[in-house]
């Protein structure tokens, strides 16, 4: 411990000595760039521009947090970010044109030389000689940059448990809801044939809701590989999954079914938009394509009259997995 302290003291002394020497060297050297006349109006302009940029960056964060398709247009996000960049660029342009003292170079650009490199560093340093409120300007720059960084980092919050995601699990499906077709005719178990696929909706619910449509297929019960917790979800081998692709929210409109399973690709639900392919026999697992998570499965029941009914809600949130997903209420 003591040894460490000694090291720290030694390092501090070394840095202090270095600083003193730098200062002495600087005082001895004559100016290269003439001291410019301070321009307070330009400084004010830069401060204002950076301030506006900061406000736009904060605006992005607010718009992101408050986004919903009904109240705030998503274009606002792009406008905020774009304007933030625009005002930072304008501020930098004003700094370059009106605050930094410029020096005309008459000779050809000199070859790299150590002494001259030091000179260049000094030129850069002295160029700021016109600025009178250095700290304030630096502060404004840091505020704008920091706000922009925060704005860019904001979407990462969607990954965590910061915002409530309970609405995602809502759907019109309840235990005992009958499965009906597009014309509200209830499905009976024996109308579900192997090799075909059916779109079903919860009885009495709005069919346009994201969580309403399910795709129903009958598979060979011996070929099912559902997790143990879902063992009762597929009576007679009939399974139901959300019809909304978990990638970008297209309808799962393709059912690939083998005529001769021994030699042909096995049954799969395919989304026609980007070819995300899901395995209905293995709880909707993704077997190909850009989808990041399995299709939510709907537990099924067959009642005493032989009609198809839901056994509960979906196994997970319905719909595409993207940043604004929490605002597309499932029910």
């Amino acid at each position: 411990m003591k040894r460490l302290l000694r090291w720290v003291v030694a390092l501090g002394a070394l840095l202090y000595g270095r600083m003193l020497r730098r200062r002495r060297e600087k005082r001895e050297r004559r100016r290269i760039v003439p001291a410019g006349t301070p321009e307070r109006s330009a400084e004010n302009l830069v401060l204002a521009l950076l301030g506006v940029a900061t406000l736009f960056a904060i605006g992005f964060i607010v718009a992101y947090a408050e986004y919903s398709p009904r109240s705030l247009p998503n274009e606002l996000l792009g406008i905020c970010l774009g304007m933030c960049f625009l005002f930072i660029a304008a501020a930098l342009a004003v700094v370059a044109k009106r605050l930094v003292v410029t020096e005309e170079l008459e000779d050809k650009y000199p070859k790299v030389h150590e002494e001259e490199q030091l000179q260049v560093a000094e030129i850069v340093h002295e160029s700021g000689g016109r600025i009178t409120r250095k700290r304030l300007l630096m502060g404004a720059g840091a505020a704008a940059g920091g706000a922009l960084a925060a704005a860019l980092g904001t979407p990462a919050a969607s990954l965590g448990p910061v915002w409530h995601t309970a609405p995602l699990d809502q759907s019109p499906w309840r235990r005992g809801k009958r499965l009906v077709d597009e014309d509200d005719r209830p499905y009976s178990a024996d109308t579900i044939e192997q090799g075909s696929f059916y779109t079903a909706f919860p009885e009495g619910a709005d069919k346009d809701r994201l969580g309403a449509a399910v795709v129903v297929v009958r598979l060979d019960p011996n070929g099912l590989q559902l997790p143990a917790a879902r063992a009762t979800w597929a009576p007679e081998g009939i399974v139901a999954y959300s019809k909304i692709c978990t990638h970008a929210g297209c309808a799962i409109a393709l059912y690939r079914k083998p005529t001769f399973p021994t030699l042909e690709p096995h049954a799969a639900l395919v989304c026609p938009c980007h070819y995300s392919t899901f395995d209905p026999a293995r709880a909707g697992a993704v077997i190909y394509g850009p989808a990041g998570r399995p299709l939510p499965q709907l537990p099924l029941l067959i009642d005493d009259a032989g009609m198809m009914r839901a056994g509960g809600n979906f196994s997970g949130p319905v719909g595409p997995s993207w940043w604004a997903v929490r605002d597309h209420k499932a029910d």
């Binding site: 090799g195 075909s196 690939r256 079914k257 021994t262 030699l263 395919v270 026609p272």
Partner: protein
């Protein structure tokens, strides 16, 4: 050895190996009975079946569930045909889907190797193996295009594309519907060939099927509003064309601007 003898030897070798290969691959052609009756008959069908189908579909359409070597050492496996009726064989044979060159290949509409008489004989034979659905007789003229486009978009366009130009499903190609007959479309909907799902009359009624067929027939001469259909296969070629025209134009504009500012 002189040049001429060498040439003759090579020619003989090629001929010998060639015939050997041809003998080892009886599946590349159709095995025909020596005596052919003038009219289609179940008897002719049975003989054609035994020569060309039984390796994969088994004796009397019993099916071969696991791949095994049949006549001529050809690997065979296929679904049973006991209850398929006339519907499926008529579709598969008239499209040229069967006989397959290899059990692992995807059935595709190639050359139809059988004559019409042979097809009718085979269909009659397979239909005689067990009770099954018959060949449908669609009447597309009674359908409605507006209903057809709605149903086609819902049930078919995901794979076959909205103008029935075909496409892909993961693991297989999807055929275009530009050359198939109305009967074949109706058959395919009820059979569900290869990876296509089957649609029963409860899902797509016969009258709805007529509308779908009427729509498919109408896609063969689409109304190209832009003047150029670009294959009628959707946004990708459209985007390509836009970029091939837009990109050079933008580059040209950039150059003009840069020249002006430099000068």
């Amino acid at each position: 050895m002189s040049a001429r003898t060498r040439l003759v030897a090579v020619a003989a070798l090629v001929l010998f190996v060639g015939t050997g290969v041809a003998l080892a691959q009886p599946q590349s052609g159709i095995v025909r009975p020596t005596f052919e009756p003038s009219a289609p008959s179940v008897q002719l069908g049975a003989e054609l079946y035994a020569g060309n189908c039984a390796t994969c579909h088994g004796i009397d359409g019993s099916g071969v569930s696991t791949p095994r070597r049949g006549a001529g050492g050809v690997l065979g496996a296929g679904p049973p045909l006991r209850r398929v009726g006339a519907l499926a064989p008529d579709l598969y044979l008239r499209l040229g889907y069967m006989p397959l060159s290899s059990i692992h290949s995807e059935p595709e509409s190639e050359r139809v190797l059988l004559s019409d008489k042979e097809i009718r004989s085979l269909v009659a034979y397979v239909a005689s193996l067990g009770a099954g659905p018959g060949i449908p007789h669609p009447a597309p003229s009674t359908g409605g295009i507006s209903e057809g486009v709605h149903l086609f978009t819902e049930h078919c366009a995901g794979c076959h594309q909205v103008l029935a130009r075909g496409g892909f499903v993961t693991g297989a190609r999807v055929p275009p519907l530009q050359t198939v007959s109305p009967t074949q479309i109706a058959e395919a909907v009820r059979v569900g060939p290869y990876l296509m799902p089957r649609f029963s009359a409860g899902e797509i009624s016969d009258s709805q099927l007529n509308s779908i067929i009427k729509y498919i027939l109408s896609t063969r001469h689409p109304d190209n509003r832009g003047g150029w259909g670009i294959g009628n296969i959707g946004p990708i070629p459209e985007g390509l064309v836009a970029w091939w025209i837009a990109a050079p134009f933008l580059l040209f504009t950039c150059r003009v601007l840069a020249k002006r500012f430099r000068g």
